[in-house]
């Protein structure tokens, strides 16, 4: 899975599920868009669907430090790589 494909996925989920339109890739998601811990858990469910794979508790906990879209893309890329 390429980074562009992951980016398309993330921006679509932001738009369709979170009403976040075209966020700046380094915007603080919480400060700028009110993206909170509840949203993070929902996003992890979307990522599991994308990867067709359940995330471990350790993997999920790592996500709690994510603040920007770029960090989210890095995170998904690493998850995808670990599953190759």
């Amino acid at each position: 899975m390429t980074r562009d494909e992951i980016k398309d996925f993330v921006l679509r989920v932001f738009r369709e599920e979170f009403e976040i339109e075209s966020p700046g890739l380094d915007d603080d998601l919480r400060e700028r868009y009110g993206f909170d811990s509840i949203d993070a858990i929902e996003m992890l469910g979307e990522i599991e669907t994308l990867l067709n794979s359940e995330l471990s508790q350790e993997e999920k906990k790592r996500a709690m430090d994510i603040r920007t879209t770029n960090q989210l893309l890095d995170y998904i890329e690493s998850l995808a790589r670990a599953r190759e």
């Binding site: 979170f18 009403e19 009110g34 909170d36 509840i38 949203d39 858990i41 929902e42 469910g45 359940e54």
Partner: protein, 410 residues
């Protein structure tokens, strides 16, 4: 310290309308909000009762996603009436977030619609489905979901009371809100209750043989409180909210004072969890009158709980007669919309405020032939155009809980 407490804004979503104008019009014209029970894929086909007090009009919710995401249908209702009350009261934003405004708001179950979806996953038999339980499902279905969704939406930081005593939920909300202000713990309280459309509640009452089922083809002819041909209650949906404020500060800021709360009582029958109890109700009524420091003859109108069950209405009529005699008008507002459960106390309070303002008492609908066992009190059978100074709103719940609220026009 004891302070006076007044109601400065009110709103309700009911089966007979949403705006004050619609609700008053329905009361004046005797229009019922009871409709056929909606079919579902779960319980409706098996329930004998085929009627429901239904909110069948569009409500223009305009909540942002960050608020919507933790709301089940019951919280949409709750936040809508809360929003309308706060807008009507026009409180200063700094006050709303100051901690001096609290919330007393509840529902019977949280959101049963969301709970049902969770249970469907539990019983699906597929362990992998557990991950499809949403992160927010608990927040939508927990018992205090209405109160905290309101708090979040408006940034309210005062105390939170979320009673969940079924049919006395919102009368307790108002009563405990009143006491919080009266004794100086808060300067204002946003109080109310809500319940969403739910066939589970109908099924429970149906199994207890407490639901109406003889009028399925003519929903508007049931419930029939105090009528000889009543055959049980009708479950309904709705929500209501009132804003309570300390009298002096409300007066100083030029608030529109709708009424003063002068008394509240709550007790328990100390026994049976289902059947109402004459002595328990008598004590509740007396406690409220004592709390208000008024005599029974000072009360102009009693809004009876009157669910239209056979025994409940007889017991309530006896209790009303034992304290009030045949002095005050007695009206049964559930005859218009069925039993809105957690919302009934606040909805009946809002309707009482409207009747006080417009100087009328709405007649009990479908009271064509008074049951002689309920005939000893002053039933309102046709519209009474009469000024009202003091109204008493009484409610009773499963578990033997009773409340009485007393309002006075200021």
């Amino acid at each position: 310290m004891e302070r006076r407490v007044v109601i400065t804004a009110a709103s309700a979503i009911t089966p007979i309308g949403h705006s004050e104008k619609e609700i008053v019009s329905s009361l004046l014209q005797g229009i019922s909000g009871v409709k056929p029970l909606r079919q579902d894929d779960l319980l409706a086909p098996h329930i004998h009762c085929g009627v429901f007090g239904t909110v069948d009009y569009e409500i223009p919710f305009d909540f942002e996603r960050r608020y919507r995401k933790t709301m089940g249908p019951v919280s949409f209702y709750a936040c809508q009436v809360a929003k309308e009350v706060l807008e009507a009261a026009d409180l200063d934003r700094d006050f709303v977030t100051s901690g001096r405004l609290g919330i007393a708001f509840g529902s019977t179950h949280g959101s049963p619609t969301v709970q049902r979806d969770i249970y469907k996953i539990f019983f699906s038999g597929s362990p992998g489905d557990f991950s499809s339980i949403g992160a927010v499902d608990y927040l939508k279905s927990m018992v205090h979901t209405t109160a905290v969704n309101i708090a979040k939406m408006f940034g309210i930081t005062g105390r939170v009371i979320s009673s969940c005593t079924a049919c006395t939920t919102s009368s307790q909300s108002i009563g405990y809100g009143y006491e919080a202000i009266k004794f100086g713990m808060q300067d204002a309280m946003l109080c109310g209750g809500a319940d969403e459309y739910d066939t589970t509640t109908v099924a429970v009452f149906d199994n207890l043989l407490a639901c109406s089922n003889a009028y399925n083809a003519t929903p508007h002819l049931t419930p029939r409180p105090f009528d000889a041909d009543r055959d049980g209650l009708v479950v309904g949906e709705g929500a209501g909210a009132v804003l309570l404020e300390e009298y002096e500060s409300a007066r100083k800021r030029g608030a529109n004072i709708l009424a003063e709360i002068i008394g509240f009582s709550c007790n328990n029958n100390g026994g049976d969890l289902i059947l109402p109890n004459t002595n328990g109700i008598i004590q509740t009524i007396k406690l409220a009158l004592g709390n208000a420091s008024i005599r029974p003859e000072d009360v102009d109108v009693v809004s009876a709980h009157a669910t239209a069950t056979i025994m409940g209405d007889i017991i309530e009529a006896k209790a009303i007669h034992a304290v009030y005699g045949d002095g005050p008008y007695v009206t049964a507002l559930k005859s218009y919309m069925g039993h809105t459960m957690s919302a009934c106390g606040v909805i009946e309070t809002v309707l009482a405020l409207y009747m006080m303002k417009e100087a009328f008492v709405a007649p009990t609908l479908n009271l064509d032939r008074v049951d002689e066992r309920c005939a000893m009190i002053r039933h309102v059978r046709t519209l009474e155009r009469v000024p009202l100074s003091i109204a008493a709103i009484q409610n009773f719940a499963f578990g033997g809980v009773n409340t009485s609220l007393i309002l006075k026009r200021v």
